[in-house]
Amino acid sequence: MARSSEEIISSLDKAKIISLLKRGVRLDERRLDEVRPITVETGVVQKAEGSALVKLGNTISIAGVKAEIGTPFSDTPNEGVLIVNAEFLPLASPSFEPGPPDENAIEVARVVDRGIRSSRAVSLEDLAIIPGKKVWIIYVDVYVLNHDGNMIDASSLATIAALLDTKIPKVKVIDGENIEILDEWVPLPVRDRPVSVTIAKINDTLIVDPGLEEENIMDCRLTLTVNEKGEICAIQKGIGGSLTLEEVYRAIDLAEKAAKKIREALPPLPNLENVEWVVREEKEEKE
């Protein structure tokens, strides 16, 4: 609720950033619409079903995917379950405390989740094993390891990269009742790569991918998640502060362009042709 110590920035710094922005320049010499350098490394944790380490400038996120077989939600009996959990590790910033996720970490998890869900990036209906009874439960845990601004985009990118890296075993269902886990691993049904782009508003200037010093003085931020077709599949305004309609439209333009660029850092979509996640077998009738 209260701004953390790190966020209390001297008015000098603030003035400096704003005066640079007026000249179209940023503290780290980026253009206003320029995203920091991105690296995406997948397969970093072999015990996970999928994983990815993402660096967005000096902001580092790691995401890991674990899969289990469990019970579906009662209102979606024919779909697998996807659960996104985000935590800000205390080693990532002097302002993070150990403890369960606070409102900021929960917001990140829910915004990341929303982008994946709205774009139907993971086709959950492929993950039903015995409809109404047994489905795949896919957990994505995203951890921020170093916080240098824009954790939403770094976490979103790590999440989709880890999902793209994920393999789960094929499952055999015998007589519609018994499950056997096969030793054949297939990619998770990932069918879109939504990319979130966060735009900060500082003193009437819109900038893409704010760094930590920029975040500390921004008036508000707007995160737009963009799917492969260039459609918007999630929006989240954050931080007190406000936007005009025109600013929202400009932010959409900025996000569309940046998303294309960012998506290049991601692995390609898996080839899902002829992939089966569940095979069904009927044993001979008992007489």
Binding site: S74, E231, K237, G241, S242
Partner: protein
Amino acid sequence: MNSSRIPIRKEERPPRLIDDEGRRVDGRLPDELRPIKIEVGVLKNANGSAYVELGRNKIIAAVYGPKELHPKHLALPDRAVLYCRYHMVPFSVMERKSPAPSRREIELSKVIREALEPALFLEYFPRTEIDLFIEVLQADGGTRTAGITAASVALADAGIPMRDLVAAVAVGKVEGRIVLDLCDIEDKYGEGDMPVAMMPNLGQITLLQADGVYSPEEIKEALKLAMKGIMKIYEVQKEALKRKYIELKREVEEDYGKK
């Protein structure tokens, strides 16, 4: 995550969410708001309070403060801290909700706070706290926006100085069409939900979220429709505050009359 639960109330998807004449499940046109009612000052103890009915939504908001903040090291030297809690009572929804705050309620408490902050002169009250509590007694789609609408009136009722009221409404996408003020069936079976809050007089958007898939053009259409709805709600907010003021005036006059 337990499908063994047997739901006792079924909310089945209607075959059509918009009929051939463009009527929605509750008979509304795409750009039509649900009936709305706002009452001011409904709770005696709070410094300000408001009750909003929007469709079947029943929401109550209360404000306490500005008041001293404990523990003191959380106080800010240059402005008041706005604390906000959005909460649904367990029986406000079809399937009983645990009374403990869910992740959803924690996120909504944050975005509601951030939707109201821009309207408040928090700098007038350094080192203090303003508490805002929103209770959803019955939920019917659009509770966060109706909650903001209620909260903003409660803040005004508490006498907190404001740049403008904040009015809010959700728009969304239902069977491919952009519609105003989704009810819960549209929220559940439609293609997308976009809650919007504004300071109507200043033309400033203070809350914007969306799920669902939209082309940039659809977002523009949706925001324009949202603005239209917000303007109507803004009028109802001002009406309600005026009514309270008039009642108060009458009461004061009657009191004098007695003497």
